[in-house]
């Protein structure tokens, strides 16, 4: 998805729910840290959003009008996934780290989860595509290993901590030696 597509999706969301600020929580958040997103981002035709209110009516409206198999997707070739707050696992206090997402005129039109929080969220999701995304984040230096480790430690206190070790072991296998050494140190602390 191009950044211009993301602008269009956000604008459409705002016509449906003017009182709520959409929060971008998926891999499309990379658009905030670079103007040259990796291919894995450009080839995606969906963007994940959450809403602080957590109202299911908002999600229903957005998914019906802008979601998968909607007329919007038919016309434009991309779509929105409005997710429940419980669906996306982000490190503790992620709300305090939200970043503004600005349009071409510099106006804030949405919020974006901070990129290290997104990285940890992808680590917990743990699908093949999530690890490919994480690898890209490290290769392109969109995230810093020390900050990533700090955020992972925040999950230690969350119910999802039981899957951390397995996920980090997988991650350590696909990133550079220097980075994986840091992950292995973290693993020692977690075990």
């Amino acid at each position: 998805m191009r950044k211009s597509d993301l602008f269009e999706l956000v604008r459409q969301i705002k016509t449906i729910t003017s009182s709520e600020i959409p929060i971008i929580v998926g891999s499309q958040a990379v658009h905030l840290v670079t103007n040259f997103p990796p291919e894995i981002i450009q080839q995606s035709i969906e963007c994940d959003f959450i809403f602080i209110s957590g109202k299911s009516e908002t999600r229903t409206e957005i998914n019906k009008k802008l979601g998968v198999f909607s007329n919007f997707q038919l016309e434009n070739g991309f779509y929105a996934d409005a997710l429940g707050l419980a669906t996306v696992i982000l490190p503790t206090n992620w709300q305090e780290r939200l970043q503004p997402f600005k349009d071409e005129k510099g106006e804030t039109i949405a919020l974006v989860a901070e990129i290290h929080d997104i990285a940890v969220s992808k680590l917990i999701a743990g699908r093949e595509k999530d690890f490919l995304f994480l690898k890209e984040l490290f290769i392109r230096e969109f995230i810093e290993i020390d900050v990533f480790v700090e955020r992972v430690l925040l999950v230690k206190e969350m119910p999802q901590n039981s899957i951390l070790v397995a996920r980090l072991e997988t991650l350590a296998k696909i990133i550079s030696k220097d980075l994986s050494a840091k992950i292995r140190e973290l693993l020692k602390d977690l075990k």
Binding site: R2, K64, G77, L83, E128
Partner: protein, 107 residues
């Protein structure tokens, strides 16, 4: 690897594609034509995921495509997320599947 279609959106997408598969069993030519038309329109913007779908439509038999779009795996979910089969189901059919899905899993 099974995915179990964890959230509403993933399950909804799986159910939509199960209905697309049913239509494809009845009339694969028409369904595949809609998908090809969508890809031709969308591919004005270069996109590898859509090219992947174009290759699938060009090289796989309808039965294989049915298997691909209905598999409850990470790979199935990945491919469904860039599916060209939008427009195969009517708005009414989509709404009906939405209601059925919402009964199984909260939106």
């Amino acid at each position: 690897m099974r995915k179990n279609s964890g959230n509403f959106v993933d399950l909804f997408s799986l159910m939509l594609h199960t209905s697309v598969a049913e239509k494809m069993r009845l009339n694969s030519t028409e369904v595949l034509q809609i998908a090809r038309q969508n890809l031709n329109r969308w591919l004005k913007n270069e996109n590898l995921a859509l090219h992947e779908w174009q290759k699938i439509l060009d090289t796989k038999a309808p039965e294989e495509i049915i298997k691909i779009i209905t598999q409850d795996t990470n790979e199935g979910q990945r491919l469904r997320s860039s599916s060209p089969f939008v427009g195969v189901l009517s708005e009414l059919e989509r709404e009906k599947i939405w209601s059925e899905c919402a009964e199984i899993r909260p939106v």
